[in-house]
């Protein structure tokens, strides 16, 4: 991605943003408040907290934002945060790529148009 005279290129912006997100997830999240959140607090005060049931995935290796097998609490939460940031980025990117490409194919029915058309591709057009 060339800078095109802008201060920051799109690729550099995305990489920089991911570095900041990773830093927040790894270094800051272990220091976040451990108090119950708004809904949990209301559930406690209004007496419906006990209607909640166990999560089916409570035994997952990263359940509760803690990586199983990592004893240090801060490190465990920080690593869970890094895993979450990486997987969220990958899953969202992949989802949008798939959706974009499949919708283009459906709309134009001239095959994928994400690459410049070539003679081979045009002749291979399916209807």
């Amino acid at each position: 991605m060339s800078p095109n005279g802008r201060r920051i290129g799109l690729a550099a912006f995305v990489v920089g943003g991911l570095v900041v997100a990773s830093g927040l997830a790894f270094f800051v999240s272990p220091r976040a408040s451990r108090e119950p959140d708004g809904l949990e607090n209301v559930a406690n005060e209004e007496g419906f907290a006990d209607t909640g049931t166990d999560h089916a995935l409570d035994d997952a290796p990263t359940a509760g934002y803690e990586v199983r097998g990592v004893d240090d609490d801060g490190l465990s939460t920080g690593l869970a945060g890094l895993i979450g940031v990486a997987l969220t980025f990958a899953a969202t990117g992949l989802l949008f790529l798939v959706v974009r490409r499949s919708s283009r194919r459906r709309d134009r029915s001239t095959g994928p148009t994400d690459a410049p058309p070539t003679a081979a591709r045009i002749s291979a057009t399916r209807h």
């Binding site: 201060r7 108090e35 708004g38 909640g52 049931t53 995935l57």
Partner: protein
């Protein structure tokens, strides 16, 4: 704000799952039209950034904490349709990997945290943009205010779900009062964080802010007498 399994009964949860699936389906179709393929990594970044920010619980009054929901932040940065999908991915990953938010409550959580904030919050943002002067500080202010209110909207949505299918015995009015009052406070944090992030992106790459696109157009446009009147008033 993540609803665990059990708080809301099965049929209400299933209804919310249908609404969530429909809303995200429509959002995905729209996203496919508006999202330039070069900007797909930007959408990924928005989702990843919201995931990180959602881990940062900040203390509010009375031994309670809150965290960013991020629906308005995402909607202002990449548009409401792409933004709603980003938050839905975050909510799904939290439920599936981190056991945060019940599996049966996934639809409820997507409705409350992704659809209501991204679409309802963005509508508020657009309304505020219309009444505020056309400059970048207005984009920041509108984003912050809409984000704050979106948290309250989300808490009202939970209350509605509780009214329809809540397993608890507390009255709906007391739950409504408790939910709204604590989420007004959490909303202030949401507004401040949203304003900070939007202003940081506006400072580095204003062209990447969906909610500020009209600013670039306004600069090119020759003002009509009506416009100058509006600016002067």
């Amino acid at each position: 704000m993540h609803i665990p399994d059990g708080f809301i009964d099965g049929s209400t949860s299933a209804g919310a799952a249908a609404v969530a699936a429909g809303g995200i389906g429509v959002s995905l179709r729209r996203a496919a039209e508006v999202l330039d393929e070069r900007r797909v990594p930007l959408a990924g970044l928005v989702a990843a950034f919201v995931f990180a920010l959602q881990m940062l619980n900040f203390p509010v009054a009375g031994g309670t904490s809150g965290h960013l929901l991020g629906g308005v932040l995402a909607a202002v940065l990449v548009g409401p349709s792409v933004g709603a999908v980003c938050i839905a991915v975050v909510v799904a990953i939290q439920a599936l990997l981190f056991a945060d938010g019940g599996l049966s409550a996934l639809g409820l959580n997507v409705v409350n945290m992704a659809l209501i904030t991204a679409f309802g919050g963005y509508a508020l943002f657009a309304l505020l943009r219309r009444v505020l002067p056309s400059r970048s500080s207005s984009v920041v202010a509108a984003a912050g205010i809409a984000a704050g209110i979106s948290v309250v909207l989300s808490s009202i949505a939970f209350t509605a779900e509780y009214a329809i299918g809540g397993a608890g015995t507390a009255s709906v009015t007391t739950v409504a009062g408790a939910m709204v009052s604590v989420h007004v406070l959490i909303g202030i944090g949401e507004g401040v964080i949203t304003g900070l992030v939007v202003s940081a992106v506006l400072a580095s790459r204003p062209d990447l802010v969906w909610g500020a696109r009209s600013l670039a157009l306004d600069r090119l446009r020759i003002p009509s007498p009506g416009d100058t009147e509006r600016v002067a008033s």
